[in-house]
């Protein structure tokens, strides 16, 4: 395996994108094996520190998957996630994380093929970017 295999952490909403990922499995939509999914109740629960932590721990990309605006299981958690994202992107940029490495995507439970497509595209685009070099293990434990 000489080729660079990016590591991507995905925070998936329990009600939509996690279900889409399961459904993609049931439909056998083949995906790049680079994503490690963490199930969360809502995209709105993903604390920016989780994303910073992932990059600090060696992730090359982070995906947050939530319900489409208007479809949130918790009324509007996804909207909060959406509002948070630009600020977080700015912060990540200052840390040297390229824009493409962090993504917030709306993937409904009914869109398993969209999930697989997102995974595959993201993996390949990050592969092109190369590894994220700032490996700072145990850097942000203090936030907890």
């Amino acid at each position: 395996m000489s080729e660079f295999e990016p590591k991507i952490i995905a925070f998936l909403c329990n009600w939509c994108t996690y279900v889409a990922a399961d459904a993609a499995g049931v439909s056998r939509f083949v995906q790049k094996p680079n994503v490690r999914a963490i199930r969360v109740n809502c995209s709105g629960m993903v604390d920016p520190s989780y994303i910073v932590k992932a990059f600090a721990s060696g992730a090359d990309g982070v995906l947050v998957g939530g319900c489409w605006p208007g479809d949130c299981h918790y009324i509007s958690g996804n909207i909060k996630a959406m509002r948070r994202a630009p600020l977080l992107k700015k912060l990540l940029g200052e840390m040297g994380v390229e824009d493409l490495r962090f993504r917030l995507k709306w993937i409904a439970a009914s869109e398993p093929s969209q999930y697989a497509k997102t995974i595959n595209e993201m993996t390949e685009e990050i592969r092109k970017l190369g590894p994220f070099s700032r490996k700072k293990k145990s850097a942000t434990r203090s936030v907890a």
Partner: protein, 1121 residues
């Protein structure tokens, strides 16, 4: 503190082990120590021996945490949680890792899959060590069910739950229940009538006291959790009150509109007020309306154009006029002078020419004037309040009309000696004859409207005086824009210079010096300029020329006015601007012009620039400058307290038209700037409604939401509806007769012409709300003012039974569906056979009504075809064709039936026997092979295909071809999926929890599936699944309570700084600020555990149990290690 973690990895037969080297991972993890006491792998971890393995280890090895890696937690998390708790461990000390759906099933490289699976397991191990024991609470189940979809599956579910004594609500998209089965004729394999088996069920559902049916409704969203769902339902208006309608059908007889019936798949028409078939449940009528037609939406006064045009088409002119009057009291005037945006919006214009709406309306108004009897709606009981109206222009006249109907006493104060405002003093007589206007004003006065002429309002008798001294309860200001806009042009003070609006007013009053023999120049490109030119040419001048800044295309004047002016002899010059007015001895001799470089800037704003080196002159004796108009606000006194906008217009609230002074309202030009007659009339009505609300309810008017508009693009359906009648051309006065006279140019429609125009309407809104049915309905069941509404339901369980759609046969153009009328889908054929169908059950050709002698059935249209349809088998079509050919043979014994099939798939009780009978007894010819093409030859349809059994091409002549179209997911499946958070497969069918063991459950506890929405099914299967779904719901109800996960938020008092960020974040009001402790407090009963607050808390004082930051951090580290 060291932990004792047990790790268990499942092979899932070969599901996981086939792609992931489970043994290798297990060995590596087992060897690494690091708190892992034991790591085992097993063929089927979820089986009893697998579970026992875990239970025994917990006891013997004193494990305090367990990680289990297998399928999705959505599948078996409850299983293993129960398993560990049976061994005495708290179930939250367990973590499940998904290495099947998320890894082995979606990876095609064993090495990479193994690496990924190991990382996922490592993440689980790292995380579980931070898990804390938690205890959930119990919540009661709401013992009521929601069934989405009223087809045979949903009905079965609903009946079973209702019979068990629980409440059920059926939400049905269509106007009736019964679903697809209601469209079928007979059912296989018994050939009993679908209606005879279905209708007893629908009628039982209809009258069951535990069942409520909500028709024309869809699910918007679902909140809550198993046992306690909150569902939002959007209901489209039915326009017929179910509790009043008796189903007598009197309404249907008088409905003038015919539209294609969806229930009959377009093979028959229906009235917008109708019911699909006589036995339908609810056995009540309903109206289909798509929304407001473009004409109605475009009308500033909101006149129901489609309604009165259709009434005119019926020759019901009185009713048509009454409908116009609901929004436009002055039909004869409006029909003459309106700029008719309705006609510009008319969709028929995309086909040939728009309806002559305006002229038809004028006919309606003139017809009444000629009869000399003025009819207005019944006035409400008289009220004591007197309302003053300032100005007798269109806005005030309209407001006065509607106020009079409401029972008020309107009093108009007009400065001029006659009423009408702009209509009287701006619009030339050849467009609006004075006697027409006079009659409209007299009609208004006859309703009890007092009009005081030569009575200006202003300082001395101000609006303040009207309210304080003269006792008016409210005032409406409807003053127009009748002052000319003047620009400083050198030489403008010369004799012979007139200003547009003032010239028109003076002409109307007969005060203009004769223009005989004079050369007249009109400057301006708007309608006032054209009106001035056309007025001047009637006063006997030598010539009239109009000069505008704009090119012909850019001119704001109505194109038809410009054309008429040219006919009458007015000449036009474009793209010249005024430099100076030339005069000699104080008299105008001409004008110097400069060429226009551009009129509008890049943003399209009016900002002309000139070429100052390109000059020219024109000689003239009279110059009319028509460059704009404005309202004279001198009538406002300081004590009135009425605020103006920066543009110098009266400031009003956009919805209620109230000014800055309570009780004073304003509308028309004085609030809009120079606008149109029809806009002023619209504002007058709105103001009247606001005044009513102000005086009667003591508040501001409730603004009803605007009805949504139908799509602007003409549809094929509408083209089909359009009757081939050309637009009626308005007879006009010959051009030579117009000069020197002010006789009306447009002569008006005849009855026949008005009727013909009405019949040209395509009724784009479907129901036109003409009110014919309302007048015919004895029980007063029809309410055309209904609007879409939202309802909220509290239910414990939801059963989704939204059914299937039929594959679109047009995706196989070679079969000619839609091209040849005798190529039908199997559902269309079903309607042909049905006794209640479009032919009354006669199987005849749609093209010529003849009985077909031979029918070819083509199988697998849209099924088993990955390229163009579904990859899947639709399961029912083989039997459907066998059934349909049997029905055909029973209708015509000598007929021949052919079937092009790929495989005959007739699994099911009695199915294969039925097929054999179709072949052996009915003598159908089965040809194995996909049909290639259907074409016409010598007036006959020919099906060409290949017989793969004998090997060779085959052609079969047919009178009719039936395509065995497959079953697909509903077109709007995504809306349902999104509203309910349901997962779907790639074909759009909803995903069950487990294809074998959880066929009616979904990954969402408390939401179940039934029928075709889960995959193609026949009726017995749908019924069986409907029953199974009912059993699931009933299980929930009899359990009585559900466990609520303890994964809610908690606040750490020692960290909280009291910033209240979280309080504003929470969508459930579960967070509050304690004034006592100055910290945030969580109400755990309200908290849903979404964690939005935790993510927002700047000091991490809020956390959601089981999703603590150290747990997530550990999982991240573990996965990336």
């Amino acid at each position: 503190m060291s932990k004792r973690v047990g790790v268990y990895i499942c092979h899932c037969g070969t599901n996981i082990d086939g792609m992931v080297d489970v043994e290798k991972i297990s060995d590596e993890i087992g060897a690494q120590g690091n708190d892992v006491v034991v790591c085992r792998h097993y063929k089927y971890m979820c089986s009893e021996p697998g579970q026992k393995l875990i239970r025994d280890d917990i006891v013997e090895l004193k494990l305090d945490h367990v990680v289990e890696a297998s399928c999705s937690p959505k599948m078996h998390e409850p299983t293993f949680r129960t398993c560990v708790s049976q061994a005495g461990m708290n179930q939250y000390m367990f973590e499940m890792v998904n290495i099947r759906e998320h890894c082995s099933w979606v990876t095609d490289n064993r090495d990479l899959a193994t690496i990924k699976a190991k990382a996922l397991v490592e993440g689980g191990i790292a995380r579980v060590k931070y898990h804390k024991p938690l205890v959930g609470s119990k919540k009661p189940v709401t013992p009521a069910a929601l069934v989405v979809g009223g087809g045979i599956a949903g009905l079965t579910t609903a009946l079973k739950i209702a019979r068990s004594g629980y409440k059920v609500t059926i939400v049905e998209k269509e106007e009736i229940i019964g679903g697809r089965m209601a469209q079928f004729d007979k059912t296989f394999p018994t050939l009993d009538c679908a209606g005879c088996t279905l209708t007893p069920k629908t009628s039982e559902v209809g009258r069951h006291p535990n069942i409520e049916i909500i028709t024309k409704a869809e699910i918007v969203s679902v909140g809550g959790f198993v046992g306690n769902f909150k569902v939002k339902v959007r209901q489209q208006p039915r326009y017929v009150k179910l509790d009043k309608c008796t189903g007598c059908g009197d309404c249907q007889k008088v409905c003038p509109i015919n539209v294609s019936s969806q229930f009959e798949l377009g093979m028959a028409t229906r009235h917008p007020i109708s019911r699909p078939f006589p036995q339908a449940i609810p056995n009540k009528y309903s109206i289909i309306r798509d929304g407001a037609a473009p004409c109605q939406s475009a009308c500033p006064a909101g006149v129901n154009v489609v309604g009165y045009m259709n009434l005119a088409g019926l020759g019901k002119f009185d009713e048509a006029l009454a409908l116009v009057r609901e929004r436009m009291p002055f039909a004869a005037s409006c029909g003459r002078i309106c700029f008719h945006p309705c006609e510009s919006a008319c969709k028929r214009g995309q086909m040939d020419k728009p309806l002559a709406v305006c002229q038809t309306k004028r006919f309606l108004g003139d017809r009444e004037l000629s009869k000399g009897v003025f009819v207005h709606p019944k006035k409400q009981d008289e009220r004591p309040e007197r309302i003053a109206l300032v100005g007798a222009g269109p806005a005030s006249m309209s407001a006065a009309y509607f106020l009079a109907l409401m029972g008020f006493k309107p009093v108009i104060f007009e400065a001029a000696p006659a009423a009408g405002g702009w209509l009287r003093y701006g619009i030339p007589e050849y467009r609006l004859p004075k006697d027409v206007l006079l009659q409209e004003v007299e009609n208004l006065a006859s309703m009890g409207v007092e009009i005081h002429y030569n009575t200006p309002i202003g300082p001395g008798r101000s609006i303040d005086d009207l309210m304080k001294k003269e006792g008016f309860s409210a005032v409406f200001i409807g003053v127009g824009a009748q002052d000319a806009m003047r620009i400083p042009v050198p030489g403008a003070d010369a004799a012979g210079v007139h200003w547009g609006v003032e010239y028109l007013r003076d002409s109307a009053m007969g005060k203009v010096p004769p223009l005989a023999g004079k050369r007249v120049l009109v400057i301006g490109g708007g309608n006032v300029a054209v009106d001035a030119a056309r007025t001047a040419i009637r006063q006997g001048p030598a010539s009239v020329m109009t000069i505008s800044l704009e090119s012909r295309q850019e001119m704001p004047a109505s194109a038809w006015e410009v054309e008429d002016a040219e006919h009458e002899g007015v000449s036009f010059e474009h793209r010249w601007g005024v430099k100076q007015i030339l005069s000699q001895g104080g008299k105008v001799t001409g004008i110097e012009l400069r060429a226009v470089a551009r009129v509008f800037d890049e943003q399209g704003r009016f900002a002309p620039t000139y070429h100052d080196d390109q000059l020219t002159t024109r000689e003239a004796d009279v110059l009319i400058l028509a460059i704009g108009q404005k309202t004279n606000m001198k009538f406002l006194a300081p004590e009135d307290g009425i605020a103006l906008t920066p543009r110098g217009l009266i400031q009003v609230d956009a919805d209620t038209l109230s000014t800055s002074r309570p009780g004073v309202f304003a509308g028309g030009d004085c609030t809009l700037g120079p606008a149109s007659f029809v806009q002023a009339v619209g504002k007058g009505r709105e103001a009247a409604e606001s005044i009513y609300a102000h005086l009667v309810h003591g508040g501001l008017r409730e603004v009803t939401p605007k009805e949504r508009e139908v799509p602007k693009e003409i549809t094929p359906e509408e083209r089909k509806r359009a009757q081939p009648i050309p637009r009626q051309e308005m007879p006009v006065l010959a051009a030579q007769e117009r000069r020197g006279a002010f006789a009306e140019v447009e002569l008006g429609f005849t009855e026949e012409m008005a009727k013909a125009e009405g019949q040209r309407c395509m009724s784009c809104s479907l129901c036109c709300q003409c009110g014919e049915c309302v007048r015919a309905c004895g029980p007063v069941a029809i309410d055309l003012t209904q609007r879409e509404s939202i309802r909220e339901l509290d239910v414990g369980a939801i059963v989704v039974a939204t059914g299937i759609d039929i594959f679109d046969a047009k995706k196989y153009p070679e079969y000619g569906h839609g091209k040849y009328p005798d190529v039908l889908t199997n559902l269309e054929f079903e309607r042909l056979c049905n006794a209640a169908g479009p032919t009354g059950g006669k199987v005849v050709r749609p093209s010529d009504g003849k009985v077909p002698q031979s029918i070819v059935f083509i199988q697998c249209v849209g099924s088993r075809d990955k390229a163009r349809g579904g990859e899947y088998c639709s399961k029912v079509c083989c039997m459907v064709s066998a059934k349909q050919l049997s029905i055909f043979k029973h209708h015509s014994h000598d007929g021949k039936a052919y079937v092009f099939y790929i495989d005959n798939r007739t699994g099911g009780k009695g199915y294969e026997e039925f097929l054999r009978r179709a072949i052996e007894e009915e003598g159908a010819t089965y040809i194995r092979g996909r049909a290639a093409k259907v074409f016409e030859q010598g007036g006959k349809l020919v099906v060409r295909g290949e017989n793969t059994l004998v090997g060779g091409p085959v052609e079969v002549e047919a009178d009719m071809v039936v395509l065995a179209t497959g079953l697909t997911a509903q077109k709007d499946y995504l809306n349902v999926a999104r509203a309910l958070n349901l997962a779907t497969d790639k074909n759009g069918f909803f995903l069950e929890l487990h294809p074998k063991l959880g066929p009616v459950e979904t990954s969402l506890a408390g939401i179940f599936l039934a029928g075709g929405c889960q995959g193609p099914k026949d009726i017995p299967e749908s019924v069986a699944q409907g029953g199974a779904a009912a059993a699931e719901a009933l299980t929930l109800f009899s359990m009585g309570e559900v466990e609520v996960e303890p994964t809610v938020a908690s606040a750490d008092r020692s960290l909280c700084t009291g910033c209240k960020t979280c309080v504003s974040m929470c969508a459930y009001n579960a967070l509050s600020f304690s004034e006592e402790g100055k910290v945030a407090v969580v109400n755990e009963a309200l908290c849903q555990g979404c964690g939005t607050c935790a993510a927002a808390c700047p000091v991490a004082a809020l956390r959601v149990q089981h999703f603590l930051p150290d747990q997530i951090f550990a999982q991240i580290e573990g996965m990336l290690a």
